[in-house]
Symmetry: C2
Subunit: 353 residues, 2 copies
């Protein structure tokens, strides 16, 4: 009985966790077929399987409560049906809507998404990308425009995962989906000019925020087209949220406002600024008119309601995911997909007369 099996056949070696989970081999044994047959039934591709086998397999799957292991599947197919989505700050409803759009299309196509929040921090983003690549996501969708992350190189990773950028980012050399912010800025300004305003302030976000910069560029262009001077004193910077805008506007009020209308870099800024104006005893829009950007859900229901540029966040997110799917399918996609923003005239600009 001097067995000559290769070296020394171990019993429960390697990692050797019991696991308890039923695998495809258990199903095969239970159904009295081979693992290949089980796999084929589950894959349900064209491969011919007799009805008898199929039925036996499905019965065993149900009886044993078999749940296929996507890790193993991913390992052998080199596909995880998962994409990573990196967002700067989910507390901003704009990004929540972008994520929602991505998720919607992903779910419709059987894809899962791993979500990362960077807090506008470059180091976090790099950590997240590394993590996502380790997890072998099929692709990565990066949200957050431009110089939001200043040091970004042209390529984030040479890895095999395709990237899609949501937001304008010239430094990032990947297919991008973004709104025409310059045009939106122009349209918003034009609306105020048409209402007769000549001294129009722009309360925008940090300089590294390229969506904001584009909106400002449109604002300047519109002023120029209408023979109005751009006064640097009317370009006021604050951060992305209500509080800072409120404070800036309050200071400004005490120093003598010097303008009759105010564009805000986004609706949250508009909200803070408008609250400040009201608290200063100004009437909106009679004494000071406001226009925001984004059309967050609440902007329609505040009083006065906020005139705003509707940036199609959810649609952009959805389109980004659609692009990703096409890239994964091997199709060529446009390097730029630009959405137009719509002006929603409401009470805060006084344009409803």
């Amino acid at each position: 009985m001097d067995e000559t099996a290769p070296p020394t056949r171990r019993t429960g070696s390697g990692r050797g966790r019991a696991s308890g989970r039923v695998g495809i081999r258990d199903v095969a044994r239970d159904a009295g077929v081979s693992v290949a047959t089980v796999s084929r039934v589950l894959a349900d591709d064209g491969y011919p399987v007799s009805e008898a086998s199929r039925r036996k397999v499905l019965e065993s799957v149900a009886r044993l409560n078999f749940v296929p292991n996507d890790l193993a599947r991913g390992l052998s197919q080199d596909r995880t049906n998962t994409v990573g989505v990196i967002v700067p700050n989910l507390a901003n409803l704009y990004y929540a809507r972008v994520l929602l759009g991505v998720e919607e299309v992903a779910a419709q196509n059987g894809m899962s998404i791993i979500f990362c929040n960077t807090n506008h921090n470059l180091a976090n983003r790099e950590r997240d990308i590394k993590l996502l690549l380790q997890k072998r996501v099929d692709g990565i969708i990066i949200c957050g425009s431009g110089t939001d992350y200043e040091n970004s190189a042209g390529r984030l990773a040479d890895g095999p995962a395709p990237f899609v950028v949501l937001g304008r980012n010239e430094k990032l050399d990947y297919p991008a989906v973004h709104a025409d912010n310059r045009r939106a800025g122009y349209t918003a300004t034009r609306h105020l000019v048409d209402l007769g305003h000549t001294r129009i302030a722009f309360l925008t976000g940090p300089e590294r925020w390229s969506d904001g910069n584009d909106r400002v560029a449109g604002y300047k262009a519109c002023l120029a087209d209408h023979g109005l001077d751009f006064d640097p004193d009317l370009l006021i910077r604050c951060d992305f949220a209500e509080q800072d805008a409120y404070e800036r506007m309050t200071q400004r009020g005490h120093a003598g406002m010097g303008f009759s209308a105010c564009l805000a870099g986004n609706d949250r800024i508009a909200l803070g600024a408008m609250a400040a104006a009201i608290d200063l005893g100004l009437r909106v829009p009679e004494d000071l008119a406001f226009v925001g950007f984004d059309n967050i859900a609440t902007s329609l229901y505040m009083r006065p309601s906020l005139t705003t540029m509707d940036m199609p966040a959810q649609r952009m997110g959805a389109e980004g995911m659609r692009l990703m799917l096409r890239i994964l399918a091997g199709e060529a996609v446009p390097s730029r997909t630009v959405f137009d923003a719509a002006l929603l005239v409401r009470q805060s600009s006084g344009g409803l007369r």
Copy 2:
């Protein structure tokens, strides 16, 4: 030379994709050590590795640009360092903040999260759970209270993944983190009673929404404690968002309001209702006072600002993830973790005199 190698030795069989990716074996070859040594250097657990080997391995890893494959890691360790998070509707900032809290703690602990949005739909949730289990997440965090999903059984899956519930849900027999909504409802009502109101309406969400039901329960208890009758006519139902609340309130206004104060199931409902009241020509808070729940970001900056119960969404999300980590570490955790809500008195209730 009649080789007696087992059967017939194939060359590139199995799936046989080239892959091109560098693996741990390439690193081992390059560094002149075994795969075990590479794995140990990367794991950096206690196992002794000589400095010389460690250096060689790290050099090769850098030179070859090696990215470990978490699928393979997960497969052999039966651990993915990933949890699934299921949320009913990300467009509600409340849930966005919950997700943010979860993400924050997850990131701090090297965990990733797979995000799913159900749109308050039970079938979607079941699909998502199945998907997450296939992906072998280490655990699942379910957000969305109670009978939000009516048919939920006591156990969602017998699988090995632990669940944590964010929100009160008696039908779901898992560790839960939720706010004391009954108490919050009581506190909010008490605030209005203290201000002298005797006819107080409650504009709440759908009946299946248990957080809302708990708030209503607190409202009723408070009325009773203060000798006020509960008038079913003052319990008005609408859905979760602004628009429906606006419409209900407008109808009501035309029919004769019949109350001097209004609690809203959440801030979005409050926003819609308040806009309706203002549009009806009522003064807030003089003619009609409002109190909301959630303390979404905009509630502080609308005018009048919204008195609301601050539900600590982000902290609850964070706590839920912390619980999950402890469960994964094998610790026992409390089956109920209850957070208290704080009353934030602002302009809409008239409590700021």
